[in-house]
């Protein structure tokens, strides 16, 4: 029964995709070539203006280009033109850098807040003010104070992945069942042992869920940040192709951004599963 449901769902998925591709193909057929155009003049004009080619690329063009990017992922034509694979490495390095810093800050701070109602109350107003600030709004400030665009991008990733992790850690720690802590107290477990052996395993699913939210946000923000500061990364790639009005390449980049985001999310989801034990 379950497998037949799965099969039927797969059939519907494929049908939806096929329908979408067909509509896309039909929608980008373009118009008839412009009549009576002086060939000398036509030579100076683009395909959209002369052949009536659709300004938006069709699925075949996009997929063809996608294949090209896959087979040329690591070319390097100088500082402003590198393959998608190299750009992804730059972006992932920035995300992991900012994310790692955020982990290093959010875990201890989250523990502190989760275990101490006093600190929770004292710090809460700050979080309430800082949390809703759009990560990109930090960018000009970071550029101005840090005076380095690469570090600024990492800082922006840090700040945007900090809050979900921090709040989830604090929440997870505070929600550890009182009985377990009482047991630990009766057995005279030391504070560090208590933190690592009792609280951490109990709060881990919540903490990792926070991390999963964080990495999703970080991946969204890095694209925007790199479009802003340029240089390298998948966001720069989008900007550079947008500059050339190459919708084909922009769609390709969107596909790759989506795929990588999905992989990051899957990894964290798997980790959450690993640390979750049925009570």
């Amino acid at each position: 029964m379950i497998s037949s449901l799965r099969l039927r769902a797969a059939i519907v998925s494929v049908a939806l995709l096929a329908g979408f591709l067909l509509l896309w193909h039909l929608g980008t057929q373009g118009t008839a070539p412009t009549a009576n155009l002086d060939p000398e003049y036509a030579r100076l004009m683009g395909a959209t203006a002369v052949e009536g080619k659709s300004a938006f690329p069709g699925p075949a063009e996009v997929l063809g280009k996608f294949w090209w990017h896959l087979s040329h992922a690591f070319y390097d034509n100088g500082p402003n033109d590198k393959g998608l694979g190299i750009q992804l490495i730059f972006s992932l390095a920035r995300v992991l850098g900012g994310f790692g810093l955020a982990v290093a800050v959010a875990l201890p701070l989250g523990f502190l807040i989760g275990m101490s109602p006093l600190m929770h109350r004292a710090l809460d107003p700050f979080f309430q003010v800082l949390k809703p600030i759009s990560p990109l709004a930090w960018m000009p400030l970071a550029l101005y104070t840090i005076k380095d665009s690469a570090t600024s991008a990492i800082f922006v990733i840090f700040i945007c992945s900090l809050w979900p992790m921090l709040l989830n850690t604090a929440f997870g720690v505070a929600a550890v069942r009182k009985e377990w802590l009482n047991v630990a107290r009766t057995l005279e477990v030391g504070p560090f042992r208590k933190a690592f052996r009792v609280i951490l395993p109990a709060a881990a699913p919540t903490i990792l869920t926070g991390m999963r939210i964080s990495i999703g946000i970080a991946w969204l923000v890095i694209v925007a940040a790199e479009m802003l500061v340029g240089g390298t990364g998948i966001g720069y790639f989008v900007w550079n192709e947008w500059n050339n009005l190459s919708i084909t390449n922009v769609i390709n980049a969107i596909l790759v951004i989506g795929l990588v985001g999905m992989v990051l999310d899957l990894i964290l989801a798997r980790l959450v599963k690993l640390v979750t034990y049925p009570e």
Partner: protein, 460 residues
Amino acid sequence: MAMFDDAFDPGSRLTRCSCGKHASQTAHDAEAAGQRASAAADEDSRYGRIIDQAVMRALFPDDTTRRNFLKTVGASTALAAVSQFFPLAAAKEAFAAGTIGPLEKKDVKIGFIPITCATPIIMAQPMGFYSKYGLNAEVIKTAGWAIIRDKAMNKEYDAAHMLSPMPLAISLGVGSNPVPWTMPAIENINGQAITLAMKHKDRRDPKDWKGFKLAVPFDYSMHNYLLRYFLAEHGIDPDKDVQIRAVPPPEMVANLRADNIDGFLAPDPVNQRAVYDGVGFIHILSKEIWDGHPCCAFSASREFVTQNPNTFQALLRSIVDATAYATKAENRKEIAAAIAPANYLNQPVTVVEQVLTGTFADGLGNIRKVPDRIGFEPFPWQSMAVWILTQMRRWGQLKEDINYGSVATQVYLAVDANRAMREAGLTPPNESFKKHVIMGKEFDPGKPREYIDSFAIKRS
């Protein structure tokens, strides 16, 4: 090509060409080609002429006087006479390639915005002008003018392509922190255009443009000041009758297609790209507003210039050489092919070629031939800086009057000539001021306040 003309030729004018024909090699070859070919072929004589010009400008600020003097005494007598007062030979030697000291810094980063204004800065990399002077230069594409400013101020870049008003704005602290900035060379003159959406092809009189939404690339740009000037001369108040907004160049074409804006005054290749994609037509080239106007510039912080004098000299000479190469019409196709790839402009070659060669589709079905659509001349006329400052004041970007002339002198370095002369123990010329004519109206850099007062439409 005032920069590479022979100062001792009575026929050559030391002022910028008002007819524009001296930038047009095809139309003007007979008198100019010989001079220019030899000037560009022989570097020593090219630098020599820069020095000659600087000295002659110092002696005879007025062009007519100088021409009369040369006619009367003859060029060779004049040369001998001038050499007695100024050690011209020493000055030329100091500027010749061999005299750059050891480079303080060989690896340099130069930021650029992907537009044809940056041609000399960009082409100098693939075509080897930087490496000729021992520089290992990386030219880094940058997303926008605010970012290029911030990266240059953060010293991530050693030098940068900027809009010519930006070094003035940075030095004055308008729109950013005040940091002493220098502009040793203009990159290009002309080379911009007003492009309108296809639906306006029958509304060619600016008086009919009330309610238009127009875009410029940056608030502190020649584009903004030229568009405002152009509109105001046609009786349209740029703040009240139309909307002008700053839009990054790549988004201009997309916005034109999406009908979000009616047109723009933009750098190329944006205008040509709008034509190429069939979404707009070129209403007027910027050279038809002010022939010979400056646009973009090669700039560096004063700190970089003073701490790395030799590197700076090497950079500047690379740019001057690239500029000289770019002035020749026969090189323009080769340059277009060199700067069009994804690593640089990332545009179809034919678009870049149409901009550089000046043989282009106008979007209305005509092929126009304007060989000096874009020109490359490095001399930073300080009078142009004064004009820019008067427009900043006119439109309220500057809140009060300043000493226009002295700011212009501090920021727009006539370094190419002056610096070499100073090193040779000479008194550098101050005469880099001259009158300009914009849409038939004369601008006297000696009377900035009177000039601002002479406009009916203004904010101050």
